[in-house]
Symmetry: none
């Protein structure tokens, strides 16, 4: 005997994706049960299948939906900006990294690490839509900074991954070790950026790591 509450169908997929994120993130793909996803979304199990053909489709939708818009936004911000390289890095880039370490989005990051190898097309999608664009973004900022004389030539132009690495650490620490040993990821990320700028600014930023 169906109840058919019929809320706003338009919000359903998002509600399911939100619920699924929590379940997937807290239990992993395989251990997450669609029963629980449905319960968390306040609907019946069968209805999940109206919107997502399989568990795997739902999983992919979670990853796709939650990360890409965020990256789009960051990139749009940066590209339209007239700021100097160091201002960009200290401003929107740092702020993005800090958010990633705190918001629910970080769950998506962990999911990718955890489940990526079993979902090659998802990894491919993620590399294409998030990683390579992120890498290009950082490299663009650095290259432009160097071209303008704001920055010295430096290895992060070849390996922009180095710039984002602490964000990964922050995300993973939050998820695994926060209970055992607190880490102020906001300050850590800020310190990282200051240290990087100290190493590559031209002329060196004063007041960062004192030079005597």
């Amino acid at each position: 005997m169906p109840k058919t509450s019929r809320r706003q169908p338009a919000e359903r997929p998002d509600a399911i994706i939100g619920a699924a994120l929590e379940e997937f993130a807290s239990k992993g793909y395989a251990a997450a049960r669609l029963d629980d996803v449905a319960a968390r979304a306040g609907i019946s199990k069968g209805l999940v299948y109206v919107y997502f053909k399989t568990k795997e489709e739902l999983f992919k939708a979670v990853v796709r939906t939650l990360l890409v818009p965020r990256v789009d936004h960051l990139i749009a911000d940066i590209e339209a900006s007239p700021l100097r390289a160091d201002e960009l890095l200290r401003g929107p880039v740092l702020s993005f990294m800090q958010q990633m370490a705190r918001s629910r989005i970080r769950l998506v990051l962990r999911l990718l690490v955890a489940e990526g190898p079993k979902h090659p097309d998802l990894t491919e999608f993620y590399h294409r839509e998030v990683i390579s664009r992120g890498v290009r973004l950082i490299r663009g900022i650095l290259d432009r900074g160097v071209a303008r004389g704001e920055l010295k030539p430096n290895p992060m132009q070849e390996f922009p991954q180095l710039f984002v690495a602490p964000m990964l650490v922050a995300v993973i620490w939050q998820m695994l070790f926060e209970a055992h040993s607190a880490l102020d990821t906001d300050r850590m990320l800020a310190a990282h950026i200051e240290m990087m700028l100290a190493a590559i600014s031209n002329p060196p930023v004063s007041g960062a790591k004192g030079k005597s």
Copy 2:
């Protein structure tokens, strides 16, 4: 009549752990099948239960067995060493990080990220035996370097995680994105260390970012 006692029983647990690592790492905890672990180890499924009470026990044994000795070894090396801070970082520490990004051990890292939240005692063990000791090791090197005047005071003394972050990136990149875009992790890690040393060496390493 058992046809051949393929191995000395004494080697059994290790053989099983090795087989289990492969299965867990390639499929994840939930999707790994004990049938496959047993087959890979060349024994029957039932025999696995003689050595490990449950699947979870086996999983924990995998993580415990494979990572700790490696860290023990690195720490012993460093603590006995009379080298200067920059020599330690450029030498055994860099070399350890490069190995982690390449060897089977990196599979354990991924497993922890993937399964950690579901196995709190495992995460606790791992934090205690690996992470906190690693953090202390790096901090020790830096503090000693600063005390000796080899290094300038710097934020990595508070956040040694910043120093290891690129290793995490290297491991994860290898596992997820190597197929889509090659990354020379050895050179990346070396560049990272050089950049760090350029920022914190005292006096600054010449040729890198000299000023004055």
Copy 3:
């Protein structure tokens, strides 16, 4: 606002029954989905339930609706006919059998064979409305032929099923084996009737199997 009342409601049940026949016949009762029936009929799933209380009711309606009128028609033809027995058999009876082997009606036959045991009341209905009337019809023709001296007494008077057996073979062959080995069911049925008449005509029909 319903866009177009696609059909006159009066035609609805027939449209649904037609669609259901296709689905039931091609997939079997259990595997047929009401979604597909509705889609094929060009209506919504819910509307099917306005006309048929359950899937089973619909199934029964399919079988009832499609076969009985055909048999009614044949019987009316025969009973009103002044023809001799051999003329009836060679004429309308043969023609009916040939049609059954070709038309969509044959799908109903298969459905009955397939699903009969699970729907005893359906089987009962079918036996009463189709089978027993068919048996009586054939027996009537034969008995009358014998009474008039057109036919010799013969075992098909007791077992009229023997007369219709090849129709069953024709139907089943078409459905299962046509792809592997063609069978000209029209000629087979005609040959059957000639052979029967050769055996029971009185005097033997000349030109069939006769000799001189």
Copy 4:
């Protein structure tokens, strides 16, 4: 907590196939539940999957296992026999047809009719292993009889299906209509053969339908 009765594993597959035949035959492929098959075989549901990978494999095994040996046996009998055509038809062929209408094998026949269209490879197998061999067998008997002058040339040489048609009717009648109206299939089949022989014997069998 497994019981592990460990009977005679060698008999297991046959026991399962037997149980499956009953379930499939009484409910149809889709409606048969593996739970019930297992229960009927006296084992657990999981064990069925040790012997048969999927429900479909089990279904095919049922059809393959139960019919082919029977046909093999009949063919071997006939081919080794020195009997005259009419003796063969009245003897082993009639007896085979009578058995088919009575034994559990008839359930397989119905299954094929019911499920054939959904399992093309099964239909193909069945056509190859049973139908075409049966057709060839009958045709061989008739052709040989004609060549020896025992029989007159007749349409069943082209359509041997006509000869077996009543067996199909017998099988189907037993399954669907026996409850509503008894049919002595043994006598019906015998009468069929006598009538056929009356029509094609050379010289005509005396006493049947003599024509002067």
